[in-house]
């Protein structure tokens, strides 16, 4: 019964989204306030309906109602409660319900906080949002209904893929979807602005918090996914340039570009057409990502439940949404008034460079990801494009971006000068050279590129700090006024510093772990000792243990350095009888400067075990840095100018605020 209520709520939400997508749009065109007023209650009610459907699904999973086919296929009575709940979105149908729940949440947030939006723009944004939602409701109801009943109901479910019974992956999809779906808000704003025919600094200020929120969530989501792949898949790696990973990375790159170009629209009232285009493309890439993941057209190591029919539906949605947006753009963008001209050496010039390079990087990743599809369609044979391609193309594009990022952030708006760069960033340059030299000295000159990578990381990190120090006047004014200036600095400036410093931390982690990973794969008898990058690991045999819904063989490795016992690593091989599946649980000891990572392999006929042992220098920095980046975005989000619901902004004219100095 509860499942039927959920199903019914979804159908109602579908019809309501259809109304939300059409009536306010017509109302805005006719200037009919009554019709426009439909949008807000529709968006709020839609959230209520989708929440009801979602709760119905959670209920079915928690009580293990196996008469619901989805629950029977993906759950099991012995599964811990937390994984029963997260199992709701660990499958295709449930994850699409999560998707529309987040979509409805964002719609309700626009309706609730968007009081200060001009009536027609607000109505149009919600209408476009309603149309996008209509597409997804149709997708769920026609191809992926989560509430289909099974008769007769089985006594026991088939269980959840054990790899997914994991806290990292329980949180990964919600964050990823917050990101993907958040970009749909930027899209709705862009399309509404094209229909309005007006893009101005006020528009950019409304779009930016949503983009920022989506970007933060996507950053966290990608980091969680990569962290999960690192500790759960047991390959010692954290990024494989797999199509599914690229699917989330492309919208991130485009969204990062959008975040920066919206600043130029806000501050300088220019670059409007490009920003609108980016907003459309970013959401287009989010949809493309969903299509690639769900359709299974590309061979991915991460491919879960795929179904070509669903792929075709999403492809249709992708073509409709992106194509429609682009056609509208082609028709209306020439009418957008361009802003003033600007000098190449200026903050806005640097942001244009940022956008060029980020867009190129996204294009390269897109090319590499889709190339196997294109070649196959042209009859050129089946190929796979692996990490070497992406490393050879992505890195040369991103390195200039990272170098310029620090310099650009110190330039003034309108007219910057490069001559002051040394005085502003000299400290950072010294730190970068020192870091590179230290790395080259320790690791040897043959790893020059990796040493330069560490120098680049130091450049980013200390450059971000130096920019902040320069801004608050460290070394120029008295300590008291430094503190006062720091306190008065807009949160967005703090946010930028934190995010760019976080990027530096990520670059350090990526460089060191890629260049200096030590891998030992070998067969070990109990008592054998293996030396890994100065640590010694002694194998002490295995024991059998039992978990709530699995049996495990646990290995015991004593980790020592200089004769001192640091930790006991207990990697496991788990066997899940309900799912007829095994997983490998890596054991990781982290010093925050490096991870020692142990995986138990197979048992040989003579009783020896294979072990895979890794030393991954600086690898935790990747995730720490990503979290710092997202935190920077969050700090920026609390900026008074951007606060989503700031009621005082309603009373102030946007034009006055736009004129205020940064």
């Amino acid at each position: 019964m509860i499942a039927e209520i959920g199903h019914f709520a979804l159908i109602l939400a579908f019809l309501l989204a259809l109304i939300q997508g059409t009536v306010p749009m017509i109302g805005a065109a006719r200037g009919d306030p009554a019709m426009m007023a439909v949008a807000k209650p529709a968006a709020l009610l839609q959230l209520g309906l989708v929440a009801a459907a979602f709760l119905a699904l959670i209920h079915a999973f928690t009580v293990s109602d196996f008469s619901v086919a989805l629950v029977a296929r993906h759950s099991h009575t012995l599964k811990p409660l937390i994984y029963k709940i997260t199992g709701v979105w660990a499958n295709h149908e449930g994850s699409m319900v999560l998707w529309v729940l987040i979509l409805a949440l964002f719609g309700a947030m626009i309706a609730g906080f968007g009081r200060n939006l001009p009536a027609t723009l607000g109505a149009r944004v919600l209408a476009v949002h309603g149309l996008v939602a209509t597409g997804f409701f149709a997708f769920i109801l026609f191809t992926s209904n989560p509430f289909v009943r099974l008769s007769p109901a089985p006594a026991e479910g088939q269980g959840l893929n054990p790899l997914l019974q994991d806290p990292g992956l329980a949180l990964h999809p919600p964050f990823l979807y917050l990101g993907y779906v958040g970009f749909s808000i930027s899209f709705s704003f862009a399309v509404a602005a094209l229909i309005e025919g007006r893009v101005d600094p006020a528009w950019a200020r409304w779009v930016r918090p949503w983009t920022l929120l989506a970007w933060c969530a996507l950053t966290v989501g990608i980091a969680l996914g990569s962290w999960w792949a690192y500790y759960e898949l047991g390959w010692g790696g954290w990024w494989f340039w797999d199509p599914v990973e690229n699917a989330s990375f492309m919208p991130w790159l485009a969204g990062t570009a959008l975040l920066h170009s919206a600043i130029v629209v806000e501050k300088r009232d220019t670059l409007k057409g490009w920003t609108v285009l980016l907003a459309i493309l970013t959401f287009g890439l989010s949809l493309l990502g969903t299509f690639l993941v769900r359709s299974g057209v590309l061979t991915s190591v991460h491919a879960f439940a795929t179904d070509p029919d669903r792929g075709v539906f999403i492809l249709g949605l992708l073509i409709l949404v992106t194509g429609g947006g682009l056609v509208l753009y082609a028709v209306r963008a020439p009418g957008l008034k361009g802003g003033g001209l600007f000098a190449p050496v200026s903050r806005e010039g640097a942001l244009v460079l940022n956008n060029l390079l980020l867009a190129t990087a996204a294009a390269v990743v897109l090319l590499g990801t889709l190339y196997p599809l294109i070649l196959d369609a042209l009859g050129g044979g089946k190929v796979s494009v692996g990490p070497p391609f992406f490393e050879a193309t992505f890195v040369p594009i991103v390195v200039p971006l990272l170098i310029a990022c620090v310099i650009g952030s110190t330039l003034a708006w309108k007219r910057g000068d490069l001559s002051g760069v040394w005085s502003r960033l000299g400290v950072a340059l010294v730190a970068a050279v020192a870091a590179a030299a230290a790395a080259a000295w320790r690791a040897g000159i043959e790893d020059l590129l990796a040493a330069l990578g560490l120098g680049l990381a130091a450049w980013l990190f200390f450059g971000a700090l130096a920019e902040l120090a320069g801004r608050v006047g460290v070394g120029r004014v008295a300590a008291g006024s430094v503190l006062r200036r720091a306190a008065n600095l807009p949160r967005s400036a703090w946010g930028m510093t934190v995010a760019h410093a976080g990027l530096g931390i990520v670059v350090a982690g990526v460089t060191a772990s890629s260049a200096w990973q030590t891998e030992r794969i070998q067969s070990m008898d109990p008592g054998d000792t293996v030396d890994v990058a100065g640590y010694s690991l002694t194998f002490r045999g295995v024991s059998e243990t039992a978990g709530p819904n699995y049996r495990a063989v646990t290995g015991r490795f004593e980790l020592e350095r200089d004769g001192r016992l640091l930790a006991v690593l207990r990697p496991e091989k788990r066997d899940y009888p309900a799912e007829r599946s095994q997983t490998t649980e890596a054991a990781i000891h982290t010093t925050w400067l490096a991870d020692i990572y142990a995986v138990l392999g197979e048992r040989s006929s003579t009783g020896a075990w294979t072990a895979r042992l890794y030393h991954n220098p600086l690898v935790p920095w990747i995730w720490v840095g990503a979290i710092v980046m997202a935190a920077g975005g969050a700090v920026s989000l609390t900026d008074r100018r951007l606060r989503i619901g700031a009621p005082r902004r309603a009373r102030r004219s946007p034009a006055v605020e736009a004129g205020a100095p940064p």
């Binding site: 390269v364 007829r580 003579t606």
Partner: protein, 150 residues
């Protein structure tokens, strides 16, 4: 005139960036693309030993032989029309099973054995790599998705 020239400058910069990206991509494609062959493709085309490629198919039942040190393993991969011997040293992914789909990357050695240096893991035991499914279809032995696949 000036705004137009500015715009032109940006367009030129953009084109330069994309051009550079294209050159990088083409150069990278040249070296880094890995072709996929089914065991029948390998039998027909005989890729040279220096060529890195992927093979895919079904692991033949009871063909997996582990070496004494548990590190080296050999097995046979078939698309039902043709079969190829594969040798691999390392730890196999958890979901590697006899009778199930597999994708391996490596080179042919002089004896025509496939020396894999990577055997790809799949997260889902019912998942059939698309290339493997296509290869099976081409050899005319496709019997639909394996049991339990969605």
């Amino acid at each position: 005139m000036r705004p137009k020239r500015r715009r032109l400058a940006f367009v030129v910069c953009g084109m330069a960036a994309l051009g550079a990206a294209a050159v990088l991509s083409l150069a990278a494609f040249e070296d880094n693309i890995v072709y996929f062959y089914s065991p029948s493709d390998v039998a027909e085309r005989k890729p040279p030993p220096d060529r890195r490629f992927r093979i895919g198919g079904i692991v033949v039942k009871e063909s997996v032989v582990r070496g004494a040190d548990a590190m080296s393993v050999s097995f046979r991969v078939t698309d039902t029309a043709n079969t190829i011997d594969v040798a691999y040293t390392g730890v196999l992914p958890d979901l590697f099973r006899e009778g199930q789909g597999v994708v391996a990357e490596g080179r042919l050695d002089a004896d025509g054995r496939f020396r894999a240096d990577e055997v790809l893991a799949k997260h889902d035991e019912t998942y059939m790599p698309k290339e493997v499914a296509d290869a099976l279809k081409e050899s005319g032995r496709w019997r639909g998705a394996p049991e339990g696949a969605e």
